[in-house]
Symmetry: C2
Subunit: 376 residues, 2 copies
Amino acid sequence: MTERFSFSLLATDGKARLGVISTPRGEIRTPAFMPVGTAGTVKAMMPESVRATGADILLGNTYHLMLRPTAERIDRLGGLHRFMNWDRPILTDSGGFQVMSLSDLRKLTEDGVTFRSHVDGSRHFLGPERSMEIQRLLGSDIVMCFDECPALPADEARVAESMRLSMRWAARSRDAFGDRPGHALFGIQQGGVTHDLRAESAEALRAIGFDGYALGGLAVGEGQEAMFGVLDFAPDMLPADRPRYLMGVGKPDDIVGAVRRGVDMMDCVLPSRSGRTGQAFTRRGVVNIKNARHQDDPRPLDEACTCPACRNYSRAYLHHVFRAKEIISSMLLTWHNLRYFQDIMQGMREAIAAGEFAAWQAGFEAARAEGDIEPL
Amino acid sequence: MTERFSFSLLATDGKARLGVISTPRGEIRTPAFMPVGTAGTVKAMMPESVRATGADILLGNTYHLMLRPTAERIDRLGGLHRFMNWDRPILTDSGGFQVMSLSDLRKLTEDGVTFRSHVDGSRHFLGPERSMEIQRLLGSDIVMCFDECPALPADEARVAESMRLSMRWAARSRDAFGDRPGHALFGIQQGGVTHDLRAESAEALRAIGFDGYALGGLAVGEGQEAMFGVLDFAPDMLPADRPRYLMGVGKPDDIVGAVRRGVDMMDCVLPSRSGRTGQAFTRRGVVNIKNARHQDDPRPLDEACTCPACRNYSRAYLHHVFRAKEIISSMLLTWHNLRYFQDIMQGMREAIAAGEFAAWQAGFEAARAEGDIEPL
């Protein structure tokens, strides 16, 4: 196994890229979807089950973990991998995005953000240096720069100001991260939906130099069309020989559209969160399992799926346990959704290798256009 | 595999009995602990995980299942085993006990009980014939007679009247059950804590004739001393060549005391329910994982346990996920508790086979008397 972090581009098909990230904790096949393990667990899943869905890497949230159980405690206990029983790579976000969306009484300065915990109201500070320290204490394999991200739509002057602050923070993050062989630091491109701001941000990041580059400030309310509009040009501004990570995306069609536009990595809470609210993603679109049409249906959720929910249970059972508020409902639907997302990634990886991405995407869209199987 | 239901007594040690129940769906090693799968799921567990804890048989609740999703629906879907993905034996209770404890506006007559559902207020009727029908529709392997059970302490006249009603219902249950090879019907002894009423009830049941005999009307508020007092004589009133099932028991020391007194089967929600409230049963007694003393503790819950919670996680992690209300907390603690209960059963089975039950019990009690490991 490698001692260093590296990225190999294995094939391209149009702008879509097939690759592999090597780390001391294992390989990450790209395009990669990263399930989110917010507070030291992918909700309703055992980590070995997350691995069984095909995940090569998890995402952990700095904001949640710094508040509870705290980064220092996780460090004393041997790091996040050991704490949560996941020995493969972990990417941690910087905390910046969630501080702005979840905490109370935020105060933003050049130095960083002072805020109150949404858990217990305690006061905390997060800036580039502290974010790097926390991510080091957690033992993260892929560390994200501390950045600031305005919700969209936003005034262009506000977006520019925020982007430039994030670029100054990126330089401070780089300095604070230092030299940690086997660990990677990713810069985050900002600039909203504006071409020139995205270019300015990319230039600033390339001048600093990172192991990978994220596209930040998207999937924050701008809509798919605007997001794809940015993805039509923004990935090309980033170095071709480094992985490109689109943060917080997304729905299956968002993911496919992003990969088509040159994105290598994504993360989203959607498959796990939807699993807990009775929403299942299938090859033929979204199924709301709470709908009464499923209550007598002996058929699987998605007959092409090999997850335990689809192999071993009927829609009628999944409907029943959702209605009865049984925990197994969240367990089974989360497993299914994570497996389906990984199946999409595997399908795209195989299609890119074969030079058949366009045909694969046409099949993906045709199946969705069919809609769910007819009621019995 | 056998076509018929049968019980073989393999060894005894004092009154403690080692045996095996053979059914077309597999063997049940006795003494047996049956996890409770109330509404078609052992809460927070996948059925393959329940099996991995060592369970040979599950209990399903007629009352819950008749209300939702309904017995007729489960029958149309191929029966409870297929519905919940558990192909080994299932015992169902008769619904009688839970109707009295959970439903609203009960009206008890010689015929049965009319009540309102606690789920949606709908009106239902349950009597011996309907209970047999429901348990047949569910596909239960071990069917329980429909009975009535007063909470203790109760007036002796009330207990006697209730017991005699239950004996008339037992005869009706036997008639309604009919001849179903491979399936068993168990009678339920009642009579509270009174020797003569227990004897009268046992005599009535033996006259009817059943495949197994349950001790009902215990673990309903009388306390361990009173329960053991009854168990000192009541099991001996039942046929030695049939399994004896103590319903709704119990805590680890209740279980050990019951086996010592000649009980072969038990069920209880305690390991799963406690798992969801942060209470873990260990060789050294009960651990409340929410206690702050565990927050920095890198040690396993129970170092002698081989369940995933103990093999792969620290007390600190279990504390964290309980505090953060993560679903994995219920998953891990339930798994641990079910495994611990099965470990007790396995320990007792081995001890009876070796003629060392008393020594085993002394070791069990000595470990508990030590109390939890010292804080770090």
